[in-house]
Symmetry: C2
Subunit: 157 residues, 2 copies
DNA sequence: CTAATACCGAGCAAAATAATAGGAATTAAT
DNA sequence: ATTAATTCCTATTATTTTGCTCGGTATTAG
């Protein structure tokens, strides 16, 4: 019941992108370096985000990535679902709603529970907009000591 | 971000146990057969539940398992946490709360998000008591056709 | 005694995750 | 036009986790 590194790295990458949204386009190499993530791996994550229409890629020299829409129109849920797939705790929470599947054998009284968890998770992540995290991130950057720089994240694993 | 079979099978096993709570002790083999789960595997799951103090084992012939307390004093959260470990989406949601870990590098603005998800999940699962599921299960059993029996669950994977 | 059961731990195959690697296509800058 | 920087695409490999099997020991009702 853990998020994979896809979700964690990916969300951080998008935040990084959003924080540097004033620049034209941010190269993958920059994000990778700032966040301490392998660039090759990050590439695969950002590909998912691109497919989901969250970021746009700009090819060629001086290319990079940009958010495809304003940060307050992107929720954490959008990002995590793009990276991790749906956030349901089991696959039948939504699916097979009206069918004979589980109910017959009586084995899916649990369905009700899964649905509740599912709804809770989705409400939680949809309620947080990327813009909020960007604001918070900038606040921390300013308040923090001047000597701090990128630093492999020792946490979050 | 999926629950493993540990959580799904395990919860079903506990429900089965609770439904048959009138009998003295329910043998693992019976639960396994009714729920269509490998007995050897189920044994490992129930061991976790035992360690967590949710079920009691009774050894010897005619032995089996019983709930260690009434079904309305056991929440789905108790059961799932026993089986899956904590239900936090990432490991640092609670940990390292007051330490320098993430905050310094500014890489953990996300912590706020993880905490929100975490709280949502835990609230959701703690809000459902085993007794509710048992009641629902019995209701379905009665309402259903008389010919139904155990049936490998085709769903929930 | 014996059969039924819980209890314990080692091992293993398959799947998922995390990462690496190499190259092709595109484009700004010179 | 050439070059260097970059996205884009796909294959492969290593590592970890999951789901499960197996063999044995301990305990107890009948």
């Amino acid at each position: 019941m853990k998020l994979s590194t896809k979700g964690r790295y990916g969300l951080q990458a998008v935040i990084d992108l959003a924080v540097h949204a004033d620049e034209d386009a941010v190269a993958l190499s920059q994000i990778a370096e700032r966040q301490g993530i392998s660039m090759n791996y990050l590439e695969q994550l950002i590909a998912k985000l691109k497919r989901a229409g969250i970021v746009n890629g700009i090819r060629g020299a001086q290319g990079g990535y940009m958010l495809s829409r304003p940060a307050d129109e992107i929720s954490v849920g959008d990002i995590l679902r793009a990276l991790e797939g749906d956030l349901n705790p089991v696959d039948c929470a939504e699916v097979n709603e009206g069918e004979g599947c589980c109910r017959i054998s009586g084995s899916c009284v649990t369905k009700y529970v899964w649905k509740r968890i599912s709804d809770s998770i989705n409400d939680a992540v949809d309620g947080v907009k990327l813009s909020e995290l960007v604001a918070e991130s900038k606040r921390i950057q300013n308040g923090a000591s001047a000597t701090e720089t990128k630093e492999k994240h020792t946490c979050g694993k």
